[in-house]
């Protein structure tokens, strides 16, 4: 049964994938790339979302983007051309080049390290089956903890 499911799933994915392959049309690419660029007028807004009245740059830049897409440039080439013309701050997120890779790698890397560390820590604690020494609690503290237990349990 399990094998049957696996075989049924594969063609389904292929069909669905093929059905959506042509979906990256010009408008989708324009929208996608417009969200990967910043307006350079100083408003700190995503290019396609820049809406401040009388912006001296966004209309021109969006025109350039449309022209680049119409010219048949690939996404990376479009982004590289904008970076070349306006500098690295025009990209809404750093590209995966040289030092910029660090930006992308560090947060998930630390999360994975943290998860691994936590697993190891818990495992180490579990292996130490020696009972913890009793803590010399004063009666008031014990009473308080009992009250907390009562209040937080039903």
């Amino acid at each position: 049964m399990r094998r049957l499911n696996r075989f049924a799933l594969l063609p389904l994915l292929v069909v669905l994938g093929a059905a959506t392959l042509g979906s990256a049309d010009t408008e989708t690419r324009y929208n996608d790339l417009g969200h990967k660029l910043m307006c350079i007028c100083g408003c700190s807004e995503i290019l396609i979302e820049c809406n401040h009245v009388g912006c001296p740059d966004s209309d021109r830049m969006l025109g350039e983007l449309k022209a680049a897409i119409a010219g048949g440039d690939g996404n990376d080439a479009v982004l590289a051309a904008f970076q070349e013309k306006y500098g690295p701050t025009v990209l809404a997120a750093p590209m995966l080049t040289r030092f910029n890779i660090v930006a992308w790698v560090v947060p998930p890397g630390l999360l994975l390290l943290g998860l691994a560390g936590t697993f190891m820590l818990v495992r180490k604690w579990r292996l130490r089956t020696v009972a913890m020494p009793a803590v010399a609690d004063d009666p008031a503290s014990m009473e308080l903890r009992e009250r907390i237990r009562r209040e937080t349990e039903i």
Partner: protein
């Protein structure tokens, strides 16, 4: 009035300084058992009273600034810069926090207000409160020094007094701006109180967990204020900025979310200390970090270190915040190193599959999310230092890095409550997980025909649909898990008491407000996630429109009925009148505006929004087509946005329930006029 305000601030500084010094001396004498010519108890009492008085002095200064705004006192430079005669009264009040100096004064005032409550309620624990009061006084001194020396709100204009002011930033002239900043500040400032208690408890090697019990309500109220503040800011951005979104990952937004994340982690992990005496060091550092992140956020956005759309908040006071932050870190480190042996855990984790470990992972993920936000905010500075050029780190980065972390957190929200303390058996896991997992799977399949196509992640660059699919399926899983908890507990009470299931669930909640209030908060957060997931399917259309011209967006047809202009003393406005049809029927009439404010000559869009549970039709007046003079209308169809605001309301409700005291089983039964057998008291344990 400016003189009165300045004098009040000076008095407040002196009083807070006295509170700090006298409090420190008194506590030191008490600690070493030495007595001076005034007994330490009396000295501590004078310090406490000085702290109380500082609240009134700071309040007088805040009043003086508001008064100056209301009376159009343009001799005060701050009022000239942030108000004008035509400004409506409510916004004159908002002038208090619309600029650097005023917002710092508000910070100092709220801090003294929190301090006032803490000092008045000192009998809850006189010695611990004395420590907390002294630490708070130290923070007060910093902020009062700022407003007395570096960013004085009562500076006078040089030369002739202007006849009118520059007016309030048009973006701030919106009703929510009257409550959003105070809420946010109540959140930021409020974390000073649990911070002060935690540091004080550590300094005096306070026995047991009472300090956590004392600060629990403070922390929850503060968390609630910060949550409401953040979401009001989102709603304001959505309603005013007119770009169709509510969160732009701007450094100021990031600054508010970082302490929220660590504060949320603290609220969870603190339960492990209360119940099992675990994670004491972790908790202390979580609350230290939360406070320091609130300060760091202010530093980042006000020092100009990172660029932000909130440019009005930038100035040269960054150095002050750097120095303060270093002092706070040094004090925390020093105190921790001296007293770390006091923070030894009484128990250790017994199983990887337990409530404790779920809290541990929840904390880890929340901290990872916080680090990601901090990392993204600071990376441009790091890049400039290493590569010699700045890069931009905006929405695409966070969407790729932070969103998966958020989805993982949502998953933990679902599984955490299903696990028992200490250890959970495989049988129990199978029993508790079966229904939520089935519902999650069914939801994952059912939403595909509705247009949520996760496989687009393999065919395009777009990841939104995939994450939306995961989020919606996971949300179904979590909501089922939460309702199953209520259902199980309610069922037990129902069987014993004979009440209907709904009444039984209400009683269940009232008997353990903290736990079930917490579940309601989780439910609210899930609704917020559902609302955010809709962002992956936003549509937009922009068009210059002539009379009677129409365009279609989703199920709606938008028709331009008219366009015109108007003016009043505060602003000139251009607007369009649009009919919105669905299925041939008129649904609503919308009127997006573009205002030009007279005093500042700054434009501002007024969004017209038709909101339903399914989607928002969000329309802005983007200006006039220079060639034809016709209005350019930009329309967005934003799915599920309303669920974000509904989720916020549920979250507020859940937090308020969690704050309410428990009602005992006997009283609950008595109120329902049902004779309760003794075992009913224990019945609810079935839900654990």
């Amino acid at each position: 009035m400016p003189a009165f305000g300045s004098f009040s601030l000076l008095i407040a500084l002196v009083l807070s300084g006295y509170n700090l010094l006298a409090g420190t001396v008194a506590l030191r004498q008490l600690a070493v058992g030495r007595r001076g010519w005034i007994s330490p108890e009396r000295l501590a009492e004078t310090a406490r009273r000085a702290g109380i008085a500082s609240f009134f002095a700071t309040g007088c200064a805040a009043f003086a600034l508001v008064w100056a705004a209301f009376t159009n006192d343009f001799s005060v430079a701050y009022i000239t810069e942030h108000s004008n005669r035509a400004l409506p009264a409510a916004y004159k009040f908002a002038a208090l926090w619309s600029g650097q100096e005023g917002s710092l004064l508000l910070w100092a005032f709220l801090l003294s207000a929190y301090g006032f409550v803490l000092r008045v309620r000192h009998k809850v624990d006189v010695k611990l409160t004395a420590y907390a009061s002294t630490i708070l006084a130290g923070i007060q001194v910093f902020f009062l020094l700022l407003v007395n020396v570096a960013a004085t709100p009562f500076s006078l204009v040089t030369g002739a007094i202007p006849a009118d002011g520059n007016g309030l930033n048009p973006l701030l002239q919106y009703p929510e701006m009257v409550i959003h900043p105070p809420m946010l500040y109540l959140g930021y400032v409020g974390f000073s109180v649990p911070f002060a208690f935690a540091l004080g408890a550590l300094m005096m090697r306070y026995p047991g967990e009472k300090w956590i019990h004392i600060t629990r309500r403070w922390t929850m109220v503060t968390w609630l204020f910060l949550t409401v503040g953040i979401f009001l800011g989102m709603h304001w951005a959505y309603s005013v900025l007119g770009w169709g979104g509510y969160w732009g990952w701007d450094p100021v937004e990031n600054a508010s979310v970082m302490p929220w994340l660590t504060g949320t982690a603290f609220l969870h992990s603190v339960m492990m200390q209360e119940k099992r005496g675990m994670m004491k060091s972790w908790n202390v550092w979580l609350i230290f970090s939360t406070f320091m992140l609130a300060i760091l956020g202010t530093l980042l956005t006000r020092s100009g270190l990172v660029s932000s759309v909130h440019a009005f908040a930038q100035s040269a006071i960054g150095t002050w915040f750097w120095v303060f932050l270093v002092i706070v870190l040094a004090v925390c480190l020093f105190t921790y190193i001296l007293n770390r042996d006091h923070l030894k855990s009484e128990h250790k984790l017994e199983s990887l599959v337990s409530r404790e470990s779920s809290f541990l992972f929840n904390n880890l993920v929340l901290l990872a999310a916080c680090f990601t936000v901090l990392w993204g905010t600071l990376f441009p500075v790091l890049s400039e230092y290493v590569q010699g050029n700045r890069v931009t780190v905006s929405a695409p980065f966070y969407n790729r890095v932070a969103v998966p972390i958020g989805v993982f957190l949502l998953f933990l929200t679902g599984i955490g409550p299903l696990l028992a303390w200490r250890s959970t058996s495989v049988r129990s896991i199978a029993k508790n997980f079966r229904l939520p997992a089935i519902v999650g799977l069914v939801a994952a399949i059912a939403i595909v025909p509705l247009g949520v196509h996760p496989w687009t992640i393999f065919t395009t660059d777009e990841q939104g649909a995939f994450y939306a699919w995961v989020t919606l399926a996971m949300s179904a899983f979590v909501i089922t898990a939460i309702f199953a908890e209520f259902w199980r507990g309610g069922k037990v009470i129902q069987q014993k008491s004979g009440q209907n299931l709904l009444t039984s669930m209400v009683q269940l909640t009232r008997r353990n407000t903290r736990r079930y209030g917490g579940y309601i908060v989780h439910f609210g957060i899930v609704l917020i996630f559902i609302g955010i997931s809709g962002q992956a399917f936003n549509q937009s259309h922009e068009q210059a429109m002539n009379y009677k011209q129409t365009f279609k967006l989703g199920p709606y047809t938008i028709e331009c009925l008219d366009y015109s202009q108007d003016s009043n003393p505060n602003y000139d406005t251009e607007f369009a009148l649009l009919n919105v049809y669905r299925g041939g029927h008129l649904v609503t009439r919308l009127s997006p505006e573009l205002r030009i404010y007279a005093a500042s000559q700054q434009p501002s869009t007024i969004v017209a929004n038709h909101s339903t549970l399914a989607w928002d039709l969000y329309i802005i007046y983007a200006g006039k087509d220079p060639a034809t003079g016709q209005p350019v209308i930009k329309a967005f169809l934003n799915p599920l946005v309303a669920w974000i605001w509904i989720g916020l309301i549920v979250t507020i409700l859940g937090t308020l329930i969690a704050l309410a005291p428990n009602i005992s089983a006997a009283i609950a039964a008595q109120r329902h006029r049902v004779a309760v057998a003794p075992e009913v008291v224990a019945a609810g344990k079935a839900g654990d």
